[in-house]
Symmetry: C2
Subunit: 340 residues, 2 copies
């Protein structure tokens, strides 16, 4: 009866395709825009799911932070379309390992993030799960036709910009995983998290960058394309280049990387480079966007925005240029399932 899973001949492993190629195969010919949100009837809509054991580890994730983060990363997709958040629907599946008080904590974080971004919690559902917790947040927002920003509008010579810094959330995750291993080896040990406050907050409590959205609006700058950096800079750049039909060139020395990120990397291994955290780490939820050259003067003086490169000819691949002037072609990470 389980033959649909056991059938081997002609079986293609998901890992053989890249994640983007898989999504394109499954949605081929359906006119999916592939933006951070769906745009329909004046509304932006997006769904984000966090799965225990995959997207978060209860060993080191406070429930209030988890609730905050679940809402924040959904709202980040509204920000990435240059939109305004309106409301969220939250669906939580939990096993009976969780108490009502634990759910109260989770919802305290959900409410806090909603309040912070002037968004109403319009619906909540709680369901049974076989094990662990799964949180799905659907965020809805509005937009104006004049300023709606998709992934597909980048043009040759546009400037490539990003907000904040990159790789710090992943650095925070590395610290938490290190302390988890230490704790498991010796449960009497106390976690040593001093001096890592910035990277820990970046991982545990990300913020959607509506401050950047507002700053651009006040300056009268409408990005030509935009997305949020949820799976690393390389993935975000590839999305924009693929949807816009262009290449890009970004400069390694231009990538904004916090000193705590660099410090964590140097502690971990000499092979762990900060630039790898920025390119492939993910979970930063910063905005990556392109602007026309005419907006250069406005952009260059904005605090917290970094010009990291420019858009190139469609015939060229997306690349990063190192300080040694080596050109590295950016690639999507492989899709990896963790179940063996």
């Amino acid at each position: 009866m389980d033959e649909q899973l056991q059938y081997q001949e002609g079986r293609t492993e998901i890992s053989q395709l890249g994640r983007l190629a898989l999504i394109e195969r499954l949605t081929d010919g359906l006119g999916c825009e592939g933006d951070d949100c769906v745009v329909t009837d004046g509304t932006l809509a997006t769904t984000q799911t966090l799965v225990e054991g995959v997207d978060f580890d209860m060993m080191y994730t406070p429930l209030k932070h988890l609730g905050y983060k679940a809402v924040a990363i959904a709202l980040s997709n509204i920000a990435a379309m240059n939109g305004t958040p309106r409301c969220v629907l939250v669906s939580v599946a939990v096993s009976n390992r969780y108490s009502v008080e634990a759910l109260d904590e989770l919802y305290a974080g959900i409410r806090l993030c909603c309040e912070r971004y002037d968004t109403s919690l319009a619906g909540g559902d709680t369901r049974t799960s076989r094990s662990g917790m799964t949180i799905t947040v659907t965020a809805l927002g509005t937009y104006s036709e004049e300023t709606l920003t998709r992934r597909s509008g980048a043009k040759e010579n546009d400037l490539v910009c990003c907000s904040g810094d990159l790789g710090s959330a992943y650095a925070g995750l590395l610290v938490l995983e290190r302390e988890k291993v230490t704790y498991q080896a010796n449960p009497d040990s106390q976690p040593d998290l001093a001096g890592y406050d910035y990277v820990l907050e970046r991982f545990l409590k990300p913020e959607p960058r509506f401050d950047i959205v507002h700053m651009l609006a006040e300056a009268g700058v409408v990005p030509t394309s935009m997305t949020d950096v949820s799976r690393g800079l390389a993935d975000a750049l590839l999305h924009i280049c693929r949807k816009s039909g262009c290449g890009c060139e970004v400069y390694e020395e231009r990538l904004p990387i916090d000193y705590q990120t660099a410090r964590v990397c140097s502690e971990m291994s000499k092979n762990m480079l900060p630039v790898s955290c920025a390119l492939n780490g993910g979970e930063d939820y910063e905005l990556l966007f392109t602007v026309a050259q005419k907006d250069y003067d406005k952009i260059k003086q904005m605090e917290g925005i970094h010009i990291i490169g420019y858009i190139t000819d469609p015939a060229l691949p997306p690349v990063m240029v190192t300080p040694q002037n080596t050109t590295i072609t950016l690639r999507a990470q492989a899709f990896q399932g963790v179940e063996q």
Copy 2:
């Protein structure tokens, strides 16, 4: 570090609260409408998640049916608001147990249901899961202010109506579970599903009742309240009575129950009553609605719509009257987590 889960003093088990009470506690004071969809800026939005091992069993769920059902049950919430479906976003989390071809099958069902209900597949995402598959479908729709139907509008003396029949999806599940046990005891056995085609289809491939929505519209009937029957008739009636601030009286002999449902119950156990399947079985995705007395003549001649009772004084509880004239108070089922 795991103390937030192990903390015992003051711990309230989720099972101590009913599911509705839990949701009301978590969303207290937030102005959640508690309808089948969120209504915002002219758009209806709803999210439905199916979790492997909880909501479906790969032993007997063809992937194409699963994809169809995931979309159908999300669209059912749009129907329950008297709305028109526009598009869906699909998020699938899978482990590497699944092949690309398996996902092709799943998406064939997703596309089929979208086409059947003139709905576009506006976004798709595929993510890693630690084990098994989780499918989340967000459905968006439109509505007109004049015909939008919430759970909260039922008035005393309104007629309580439902579409189709009740309990048949649960009967289908019972048959599949019985054959699974037989197969596990003897893997050489062939499943014996002859004569159960109707209840199996009800469980494996439900349909959102837009035909009923259209029939009501053509007759010029706007229900005073509506919801879909996703967790059994009792749960649906309780939702309407709670949100409308009323009681209700439904008649057991009026409940529409298919003969296959009755037959499956009689095969299972003498204690398995068809009416229990209707009240508590769930997954029927029929529409439960109330209409004003003035619409009685229109409603009574509509095929596939059954008048099962009427709305009572707010001081009275929701009850079912048996053929022996016994009055049974309807209660919500307890929330049960399956993880021990």
